[in-house]
């Protein structure tokens, strides 16, 4: 079972494999989430959602349902 970004733990780094949702994918790619790029899970908000990740040298917030559409390899 392929993992996705929403399932990562704080401090974990992984490589983006592909996207499951075309509509969100175009937006994610514009922000620098590209297949083959490293993504790091930094921390989550107090109620577990949204989360903060680092991708191509900057920090971004993502909601869990957005993060869940990004499949990773690690």
């Amino acid at each position: 079972m392929a993992k996705n970004v929403a399932e990562m733990k704080p401090g974990e780094t992984a490589v983006i494999a592909h996207f499951d949702d075309e509509q969100i994918a175009v937006k994610l790619m514009e922000m620098g989430f590209l297949p083959g790029t490293a993504v790091r899970f930094n921390f989550s908000a107090p109620f577990g959602d949204p989360i903060c990740v680092t991708v191509s040298d900057y920090d971004l917030s993502l909601r869990l349902d957005e993060a869940a559409t990004i499949s990773i390899i690690n």
Binding site: M31, P46, S61
Partner: protein
Amino acid sequence: MAKRIRIALVGKPNSGKSSLFNHLTGLNQKIGNFPGVTVDKRTGSCQLDDATQGEIIDLPGIYSLYPRTLDEKIVTEIFTHPQHNLYPDKVVLIADATNLKNCLLLLTQLIDLKIPTVLALNMMDLAAKSGLSMDVKKLSKELDMPVVMINARVGHGIADLKKAMLKELRPSSVSVFAIEESIQRVVKLTREHFQLTTDYEAYQYLQQPDNLVSLKAEDREWIKATAKEHQFFAHKFQGAETVTRYGFIQELLNKVVLRKSTREWKKVSYGIDKVLTHKVWGYAIFFVVLFLIFQAIFAWAQIPMDFIDTSFARLSNWLAKELPEGPLFELISQGIVPGIGGIVIFIPQIAILFAFIAILEETGYMARVVFMMDKVMRKFGLNGKSVVPLMSGWACAIPAIMATRTIDNWKDRLITIFVTPFMSCSARLPVFTILVALIIPDTKLLGFFNYQGLVLMGLYLLGFTAAILSAWAMKFIIKTTERSYLMMELPTYRMPKWSNVGYTIVEKTKAFVFEAGKVILAISVILWVLASYGPIDEMNAAKVVARQEGEKLGLTEEQIQDNIAAYKLEHSYAGKLGKTIEPVIEPLGYDWKIGIALVTSFAAREVFVGTIATIYSIGSAEDQPTIKQRLKKEVNPVTGGPRYTPAVGLSLLVFYTFAMQCASTLAIVKRETKGWKWPLIQLAYMTGLAYLSAFIIFQTMG
């Protein structure tokens, strides 16, 4: 003759674009609207050399030509329409050097549109700190465009940038994104149809006809039909385009970056995040910040507000004495001057609130607030980004509603606009203060908490609760297929740049004065006419009766004048209106006198105090203790007891908390939602809720 060139500033949010704009233009800034759309347009002029003046346009922050929010559409609009009247001669793209990859995405799109561009590399100091080093000369050569290093915070490199802007600039000869073969035909067709200069422009037309606002309806239809006929699938091609562009960028960076950055320099920022977004401390700190803001709005703003209040009252009195008699001069001294005073009085509170908001945004803390509040807010149909508008609502709903433009999802934005006026704005405070002082004893609970203060706080909470619950209800009523996102940069913490804070205060205050001000002024003049004129016979008779009565009772001339004013108001058109609505408001415990105050409150709520002062012949509205004494003495002829019982007072307080009594807010909601539908629903809903709640309170307590 000085030459003028138009230069557009673009870049992603948090890249230092506002700082650069402020450095270039100083105080020569103008804020207007882009034609046809409600997006703030910031322009300014900048002397480039003795003979050339630059007209600088600060465009909304964007990541790419594919817009997410309303604001961003304007950028795509301008860049894909060379005939647009704001189409720039040159573009300066400001890039955050610590995050060059993302910043260059937009740059490659500008290159393909063949727009002459200068690349300004900002935050080189931070890039150096992060260990990054690159070959800027090579970058310039590879991109075939001038590259200037700047530090927008302190203003380094601005002179070099100006020089680069002055130089003859041709579009870069690089081509980044080649149109795929399968769609070359449809792109060519579109390009010919609209006589466009580049293929990429035609491609953009095909990609997002709905986002190009100035296209005619039939042109839009033509594009959609043509795209469909030639199997142009927007999403698929957009994804491929982004991958191609990032591929180009990665290759470029591999060539020019000599040493990569590390995460070390962000350690402090991450450390701060551990505390500020902590489960307990995060919220505790946020509430302390809110408390501080409240303290500032209530306590500190009071001093300048009192000063403005007395100054305008003096000016009005002085004018009344000095100007010759006559309706026109009365209009000036009693209609227009107090009307302007009623606008200026709110400036201190609005300026202080936006000073705080600007500082919170500048430091990067506001993004964390959005981050922390998003989940909670979503439960109620809102969005983390609704926090700023809701907070601004404590000062004034007008800039608050304008601040909702950053919310990309239409449903979330509409709900935020709809519920923001429930947040108790500064115009409600004078009304609250006088009524609370009237019905709540000035004693302390447990010797510590002042009862009056607690009730006041309760009213603010009541407004907030109404906002949240209404939002929650609307979540189920409004249907949308549009998805909501929260992909937002969490910028590294930094010290605020004070001049930027200053510019924000000026900008927001101006928005209030000119947007709200014109409506408040117009309505206060109308209301003044209604309150000063009535059927001539009745008005004259009222004057005579008041004088006779006063003389019989042996009152002083001043008291007689106050009584005449009250009699005149009673028999004016406004008085008649108050009496007409009396049967409607009677179940809430109000008489026609309060009715007049309700009617005049429609200019701005705080007019209530002035109207009450006039109708009870108090003469001056500044004198709060006197108003309080007089209201206490007012007798209800039906019961024989006091008119302002706790039941009536509470009923009024709740009415003012909920009711939509602000014509300027309605005007702004109409503009932002593009029609009368939402402001009218808002008016009916809020006033209905106010009526019902006041009714229940009065009937159960009274």
